[in-house]
Symmetry: D2
Subunit: 287 residues, 4 copies
């Protein structure tokens, strides 16, 4: 794939945004590979994803950046730019359940996820062989009621050392601090084993069984200080029946969790997600 | 279709239930058209649906009934029998939204629902023309804070007069009393415009929009004294995106509500549902 | 809803399309309510849907149209414009199955479909009461092997008289001539009771039963001279099992047909569909 | 899990089957863990899955077997018995695509599939590291137009040596001979990358793209001499749009293939599938 940059924009809706932004890049000779917009008529916000073919150019090009910043200032745009030639470095945090870890490692190796995975961290040692089977370093950081803050510091240090851009909680059964959630805002994705906002908190499948629901689901979301209240990126469900025991629900649920988390991580890495308040805009995956 | 009876059974699980029950009917020469069982291994309960070909026989036949009651006593069975030759009489309660009412009336007329619909009741007069278009009497029983108990009495009287066996709340926006729910236990089905237990209560689509969910759903359940906590019969969902306004969610939701309510009413009328505590066993629709 | 126009564009992909087209409308002071593009990188084609707020303006405004045609010529655009203030006039053709007819009539009446339905045509008299129940004129045009061309002429005459813009085959069991399909190209939608390209032709549910498939589906498509080969607008499926008889498959299928046809007709009426060869681009339904 | 046996039965439907079969086991003191029946009213066939708790008993117990065979003879039952304590030995055949192989190996290791996988066979050497990563022997048997029969002989020899009970074609891109299909009838499962009967043969995603379908699917089926015509065990689909390139369809399809194949293999291994002509009865997965 040729090198490209993706620009994500959000601002208040106003006349002429598409014209002004697309013309800026057209006049400088960039080829627009993809251009998607969304206007939230209720809130009056505008969102845009632009994918530009860099061809032979370098980025950031100080003068182009400078000019676009001027336009952005005049239109009050919030914008970020992402070079597709520099894959994100992702850390996966797990506890004892291996299914999401396996799934992400296989997809990364099969080039379904544009990222590197230089690090798996766990509060248990159980999944060491899974990570090592894929040649990924595994850091075992045990945790107890007393050592919670220290363990989180160790996690931070490892994330810094490995220059991690995205942290994925792939069935990590510990609650991270609000401060951690704040510092990694928009770069911390969790998979919840329930169809949020139903079944927040633990034991979601047991509670689904007890409630007698006819479908179960899973939810991938950005983590915020409010547990299970972060912006939802992706959800899915499967039909279940009265015949399914809690154990069977867990098994069915694992397949939903795998898929939902993989789709959410892929959308994030392809820079198709804009966070807006406690919601997300997820652009389609055409290009 | 030939005449048949459906027997629904629930009891504590014990050895030999299938043998004893199936042999009882076999020895009396009945042809078993369908036989489904379910054992809830967690709770230790047994559920069965038997469909017997009546051929030329009459039912209830006092001597057969008497004999089966003896078997039932010895095994501590709870059982009910339903003659498929006597279609249930169904009343539909509505407020202003016509989509579920239309759907049920069309399906009944097209022989998808084995029932008669002799009565539509509403607290508004808006849907009179819909009912009358299908030749169904429409009773307008207005309600105010002061007249709530009286209106409910009027409903009861109408249900009695029309010998109603099943009451369907097809987007009826009033809460019935606990006493009413108790008296019509197992014969009162509601459609809720949310994927329970998420979004209990009112304004489910607006709240789904605000939460930024990626799927919306609907739930058909038996009504109990605890609002939105009754045994779930059927649920379904549709995928939505950030592009869908609350109005669009409502529109998508209407299609889910229609289907989910129709499936639940059909399952009930075909005697495929056994209520067990606050859950249901829903047998499949083969025969 | 305020008056708006929708412009559908297709052309060869080239640099600057979004910039040039959006700037044209921005400079003339139009507010862009929605703007979606799609580039088919394989075929090298560009597709766009623009929705413009007319506010107090009249359309067509000769000078604006003229100017835009100049731009269109220079970029080799194919474009059409649709005034949302003039609802399409739709004719429904049916045979004996009422489910899709009921569904479209109910949705139109409930304002889910931006159209008028001034005419139902059938080769049988069976569904007269359904149409008349909704106050829609019903034309019974019987057909025999000998009278096929004459009957089609009668249909054409009725469509002309009623100034019909879209013809919907809602389980119309006759094959229209290639010439008819050609003359109504892009304005003739059929619902097929199979998941195309599987089960082309008749008896799709019986054949699905015999093949032992685990899901059945339906397909809405534009009609072309090649039967069941026209551009697909929408498809959906439902899970079935070995327990489902052909009759049960038909019943389940009716619900799929209803939904799929309604979604396709809605997409067409909202001018969200561009036909490109024997495929379609279906823009999302945000605005 | 306690030891249990599963008995699969098929025969012509007749009065008293459930009574006679269930009574046979009840009188011998067996606890029935699960009992599911299906009557195909069209064809007049009866199917049954019985799961019996062995507790301390041994199986086969010559006298019980003998007695049941007498009953089977009198009722003209076809029956097979499967000891859940002896996991099936499964060989996986692959070519170059690793996604289904990874998925089956992970699920087997995570105890989602009651089997051993002692052997992976491929006509290419590409996936050796995947098998070896899981400690599974990998046999590379190259194939050319000239060596096709010899290669198949080598496969047979390996299957014999490893006492393989089930062969899974996990995107194996070679056609096996009719004789092979015949000899392994009912023990040979293939995953097809299309929603059969649509898109039989190769390049299914490319052809789905060209046809412009709005959903793509995959099908797991038993292999018979007629390519892509074998009894279907499981199918599933995902929604796609005009934005999805053939490459994107392949990626989405891989997730469907993974799930569909895993579900089919699981159903087979749990002895929930009865083949009947060119169709299957798939019992539910309760117990």
């Amino acid at each position: 794939m040729a090198r490209a940059v993706i620009i994500l924009i959000q601002c208040r809706d106003q006349k002429g945004l598409v014209s002004k932004i697309s013309t800026f890049w057209y006049e400088r000779g960039f080829n627009v590979l993809d251009c998607q917009q969304h206007v939230d008529n209720g809130a009056g916000n505008f969102y845009m994803r632009l994918k530009l073919d860099l061809e032979e150019r370098a980025w950031p090009d100080a003068s182009t950046t400078n000019d676009f910043q001027k336009l952005a200032d005049s239109l009050h745009l919030n914008w970020t730019v992402h070079d597709t030639g520099t894959p994100e470095r992702v850390a996966i945090l797990v506890s004892k359940a291996p299914h999401c870890l396996y799934d992400l490692l296989v997809r990364q190796r099969e080039n379904e996820l544009p990222c590197m995975i230089p690090l798996v961290i766990s509060n248990h040692d159980d999944l060491r062989s899974v990570a090592e089977q894929f040649g990924v370093p595994y850091e075992h950081l045990p945790i107890s009621a007393d050592t919670k803050p220290q363990q989180e510091s160790q996690i931070r240090k490892l994330l810094d050392t490995h220059r991690i851009g995205l942290v994925v909680l792939a069935r990590y059964m510990q609650v991270l601090s609000s401060r951690f959630a704040g510092d990694y805002a928009g770069r911390l994705i969790n998979i919840h084993h329930g169809f949020l906002p139903a079944f927040q908190g633990g034991n979601a499948y047991q509670r689904a069984y007890e409630r007698g629901v006819k479908m179960i689901g899973a939810t991938a979301h950005y983590v915020t200080a409010d547990l299970d209240e972060g912006p939802i990126i992706e959800q899915d469900v499967e039909r279940v029946t009265h015949e399914d025991s809690p154990k069977e629900l867990s098994r069915i649920g694992r397949d939903i969790e795998r898929l939902v988390l993989a789709r959410a991580v892929k959308a994030h890495l392809e820079r198709r997600v804009i966070i807006s308040g406690h919601k997300t805009v997820v652009f389609s995956s055409g290009v």
